[in-house]
């Protein structure tokens, strides 16, 4: 049998010690009438056949398209060192570092991770990861409700629409009021947001750059939020923070993001991880694990899980969240990735994404029939419209070897014929030129 090492003699010896006759007696505490004779699934496969089976299944997936598709999940480089280190089983076959002395490796990586998230965001404290960007945003909204003891969340329509749906699910079961404020020309509707801020608002959630790629400065909105003692929660694209104004400089109270872009594969959407950082004053309201540095009994520095009185295993129904397992290994990957990038690397990478996207935007604007809908101040994504239906346009480019972007018409009818196009540092001029000429061909 795979992976059980028991010899027949050992089984006998063990049963004898327990005082049992046969293996089936091990289940004597399960009422007989509930026991089944077996499950109706195929017998196990040998390793070689299993590999062949799944290799054939993997071959049914299409991964040979050139990606101009982003929307929160990006085709960035993954350096070999990330796979090599995260593939060490000392990292991936351990678990939650409850026993500090036996887990200094994971604990120190997470401390370094938290430090890096604080550097990206400019904020004081970070937790040690959430499930993903969407759940991190939802938990940030709940944090705002807890901190302000108010019951209303404003959601900017520029947030990733799949995230909005997740946030709505989390909030609706708590009877927390929320309102989505639609964007105008793919940009935050400033006046509308400002008008809605008052003493009833717990927090305003927004994204920068927003889902459509538009970059904005929210300083004035945040000032008004603070006048009314409401919180500003920003979801951001970590790579863009190599270039764009950081959340703390805008005055944001809570920063959250998805970490897929930092050294992780697309994985069909998961596993990724979520990050949350905030001001020190709000640390007791953070969900999830936090790692701290302290001293051991001999005065040696040691890393530990800390502030655990927020968590479910101590506080049970009064915990800040029910999260237990987080997305540790993916956060470890990203810590390694950010170490490789370094201070200049992150800025360079952001600049590459921005510059290449700007080039593509310019090239596309020269094609008859293509219109760029958010012309100014975009980072690495922007919206185009074409005379074709979104479906038709995307299908035709798919046939030419491109995933040309995200079909916005499938997100909302009002985005008829519109596509969200994304570029990363991986796209070469050659690929972009071929993409542009293919678009010329299909229109």
């Amino acid at each position: 049998m795979p992976y059980t090492p028991h010899t027949n003699e050992q089984i006998r010896e063990m049963l004898d010690l327990i005082g049992l006759d046969k293996e089936s007696d091990l289940f004597s505490s399960v009422p007989k009438e509930l026991q089944i004779s077996g499950i109706n699934l195929p017998e196990g496969l040998d390793e070689f056949s299993t590999f062949e089976k799944f290799k054939a299944i993997a071959a049914k997936n299409v991964t040979n398209k050139t990606l101009f598709m982003g929307g929160g999940y990006y085709d960035h480089i993954v350096p070999s060192a990330v796979d090599a280190l995260a593939g060490r089983s000392e990292f991936y076959t351990s678990y939650t570092p409850y026993q500090a002395e036996a887990s200094q490796g994971t604990l120190q990586v997470l401390y370094e991770y938290q430090s890096m998230i604080c550097e990206l965001s400019g904020l004081d404290v970070s937790n040690a990861s959430m499930y993903d960007g969407a759940s991190a945003l939802a938990e940030s909204a709940l944090m705002a409700v807890r901190i302000t003891k108010r019951n209303k969340i404003l959601i900017d329509g520029g947030i990733n629409p799949t995230y909005i749906k997740v946030v709505q699910t989390y909030l609706s079961f708590r009877d927390i009021e929320f309102e989505v404020i639609d964007v105008e020309n793919f940009k935050t509707n400033r006046q509308s947001v400002l008008d809605k801020i008052d003493e009833s608002v717990a927090g305003y959630l927004f994204q920068n750059p927003n889902f459509f790629g538009t970059i904005d400065d929210f300083t004035d909105i945040i000032e008004k939020l603070h006048v009314h003692k409401a919180l500003a929660v920003v979801s951001a694209y970590p790579i863009s923070l190599g270039m764009l104004k950081d959340p703390a400089s805008m005055g944001a109270d809570i920063f959250c993001a998805d970490g897929q872009c930092l050294g992780n594969y697309l994985n069909f959407g998961g596993p990724s991880f979520g990050m949350i950082a905030t001001k020190e004053a709000y640390i007791r309201n953070l969900p999830g694990r936090i790692i701290g540095r302290t001293l051991d009994k001999d005065g040696n520095e040691i890393f530990v899980l800390t502030m655990q009185a927020r968590e479910q295993h101590i506080r049970r129904h009064r915990a800040t969240s029910n999260i237990c397992s987080n997305q540790n290994l993916v956060a470890v990957r990203s810590t390694i990735f950010m170490s490789l990038l370094g201070k200049d690397g992150l800025a360079d990478m952001a600049n590459l994404c921005f510059s290449k996207a700007s080039y593509l935007k310019e090239q596309l604007s020269n094609i008859d029939g293509v219109e760029i809908l958010n012309k100014e101040n975009t980072f690495n994504e922007f919206v185009i419209s074409t005379p074709l239906s979104s479906d038709d346009f995307l299908d035709r480019l798919r046939e030419k070897g491109f995933y040309a972007g995200i079909n916005l018409a499938n997100i909302d009818d009002s985005f008829k014929n519109q596509i969200l196009v994304s570029v990363t540092e991986k796209r070469t001029k050659e690929q972009m030129d071929a993409f542009v000429s293919s678009i010329g061909d299909v229109l």
Binding site: Y3, E23, F27, L34, E43, G44, L45, T50, F51, F54, K55, A58, N61, P79, A84, E90, F91, S94, Y98, Q99, E101, A102, G105, T106, Q108, Y111, M116, E119, L120, V125, N160, T162, V166, S172, K245, N267, G270, P271, D296, G299, N300, E301, V304, R316, H317, N322, I323, C324, S325, N328, S339, L341, G342, K343, N351, S355, E362, N377, Y403, E425
Partner: protein, 486 residues
């Protein structure tokens, strides 16, 4: 206290201008500018190190972890079994790694037929193993699955025009159960355990009423015991139309032996990082698929799959769906690992795994029962809970035992959980450990008991071999240091 040994973080190793990566070239020229008010004034101070610095730093850190591949890791409730290498190899195939989730938004289901097939396979396997009628793989961990389960239960009652108030949990329950109830807006009723460690049946009956939305039970429970009256509990709850939630963290005890769906449970989550051997990753990512019976099918979350004319399509959940809890298919890469593991085991291998898990736990229990307090006597399932109550009178706590073991290459069991057992030591050996290892563990535990008799003070010095010993947790909170300071 003065600092004796200081730790070098990756930030301490930083040198101005050093680089760890070469990026693709900037092969276009553009003069697009962004308003300077939108730009960052100072760069984020990520460490400046070389690739080799990074390799050496993190390799050395990895050496400071205990892990399943290096150590026996009998962490109760966590099912730290061997993670087969074939699973990693399959999960790292290009065809699985590099799929963009927005193919869902674009409706390009034909490009991901392979992955949709693996999701279908996993859902079907889980239905057969648990006796539920449908599964979703969108929850990203056990607790996420609990949240989804309670949301669906909430919708179920609302669809009948009811808003119920309470969730019942036993006092032996895992912290995520009551925390989940609160996340979804419920109040928690905690019911004490009886002298056998089971939820007290009479109290349970008294507390049941039509304001109770659901009962959350772990089966076998966190004491490693199977509740003989489990079916009666389901029947009582159902009389009040309260639904039964099965915390499947302990599925490793019962595969191929008994099915939650057959007993009458309405919803279940599975921790694939436990029962189905997906790596724990130092704390995650896991995956927490949720199964339901016919009562709850209509409430399943947004994003599922269906097969029509031999082709898989996406489905977005029906009119009564609770909506999205994950943007796409949750931790797909982890779910994929689970189905590859199940394929290797097959029906025979799964039943064998549970049998050997229970065999190992009972063997260990019998070997240790005369040396420790046994809070609840009798056969256990896949894990056994002992207590260091008597040792504690000599000044040796469960934590002392936990720390002692570390010096002998053994990871500690779970300690101080379940909360109802004083000085709890919760040991889950799993089926992949051989008898020699379990004997070595038992011998070491027995040695600890001897040392407690001879020299109880000595425990304060354990572990002696790991370079650090006994963190000051109070200082960690009082002198909060949660990030590198320049």
């Amino acid at each position: 206290m003065s600092v004796n040994m200081k730790i070098k973080t990756i930030f301490d190793k930083s040198q101005n201008g050093r680089k760890g990566i070469t990026l693709p070239p900037l092969d276009v020229s553009v003069d697009t500018k962004i308003n300077s008010s939108l730009l960052r004034e100072e760069k984020a101070r990520l460490p400046e190190v070389s690739e080799f610095d990074v390799i050496r730093h993190f390799t050395n850190l990895s050496n400071k972890n205990m892990s399943i591949d290096k150590n026996f890791y009998p962490l109760g409730s966590c099912t730290m079994k061997y993670n087969p290498k074939i699973v990693e190899r399959i999960a790292n195939l290009d065809g699985f790694l590099n799929l963009h989730p927005h193919v869902v938004t674009n409706n390009f289901s034909e490009d991901v037929q392979g992955s949709l097939e693996t999701i279908d396979l996993l859902e079907k396997n889980l239905c057969e193993i648990t006796g539920m009628s449908a599964f979703t793989t969108t929850p990203q961990a056990g607790a996420h699955g609990e949240m989804l389960g309670i949301m669906m239960i909430d919708k179920y009652h609302k669809s009948k025009g009811e808003k119920r108030k309470y969730i019942i949990v036993p006092d032996s329950s895992h912290g995520t159960n009551p925390a989940t109830a609160a996340m979804v807006g419920y109040e928690v009723i905690t019911i004490k355990s009886d002298e056998n460690g089971a939820i007290d049946f009479e109290t349970f009956k008294k507390k049941m009423n039509r304001d109770v939305a659901a009962v959350m039970l772990t089966v076998p429970n966190t004491l490693g015991m199977y509740n003989k009256r489990i079916k009666e509990l389901c029947d009582v709850a159902h009389e009040y139309d309260a639904l039964m939630y099965y915390d499947g963290a302990n599925m490793n005890a019962i595969m191929g032996v008994v099915r939650p769906g057959d007993i009458g449970f309405d919803v279940i989550h599975i921790n694939v990082h436990k029962t189905f051997a997906t790596p724990h990753g130092g704390g995650g990512p896991g995956s927490g698929p949720v199964g339901v019976n016919d009562k709850l099918k209509e409430f399943l979350p947004d994003l599922g799959i269906k097969k029509e004319n031999g082709k898989y399509e996406f489905t977005s959940g029906g009119f009564n769906s609770i909506g999205k809890i994950s943007p796409f298919f949750g931790n797909y890469g982890i779910s994929l690992r689970a189905i590859t593991y199940m394929t290797v085991l097959g029906s025979n291998g799964m039943k064998n795994a549970s049998t050997k898990a229970v065999l190992n736990a009972n063997y260990l229990r019998v070997r240790l029962k005369d040396y420790f307090d046994v809070p609840y006597a009798g056969m256990c399932m896949h894990e056994c809970v002992l207590s260091a109550k008597t040792l504690a009178k000599k000044g040796v706590s469960a934590m002392d035992i936990a720390k002692y073991l570390l010096d002998f290459g053994l990871h500690s069991p779970t300690v101080y959980f379940p909360l109802i057992v004083k000085e709890a030591i919760m040991i889950e050996p799993t089926e992949t450990e051989n008898k020699e290892t379990i004997d070595y563990f038992c011998d070491t535990m027995i040695n600890a008991v001897k040392l407690a008799d001879e020299n109880p003070e000595e425990f304060a010095n354990y572990p002696k071999t790991l370079g650090v010993c006994r963190p000051d947790d109070t200082r960690a909170i009082k002198e909060l240091d949660v990030k590198f300071k320049y």
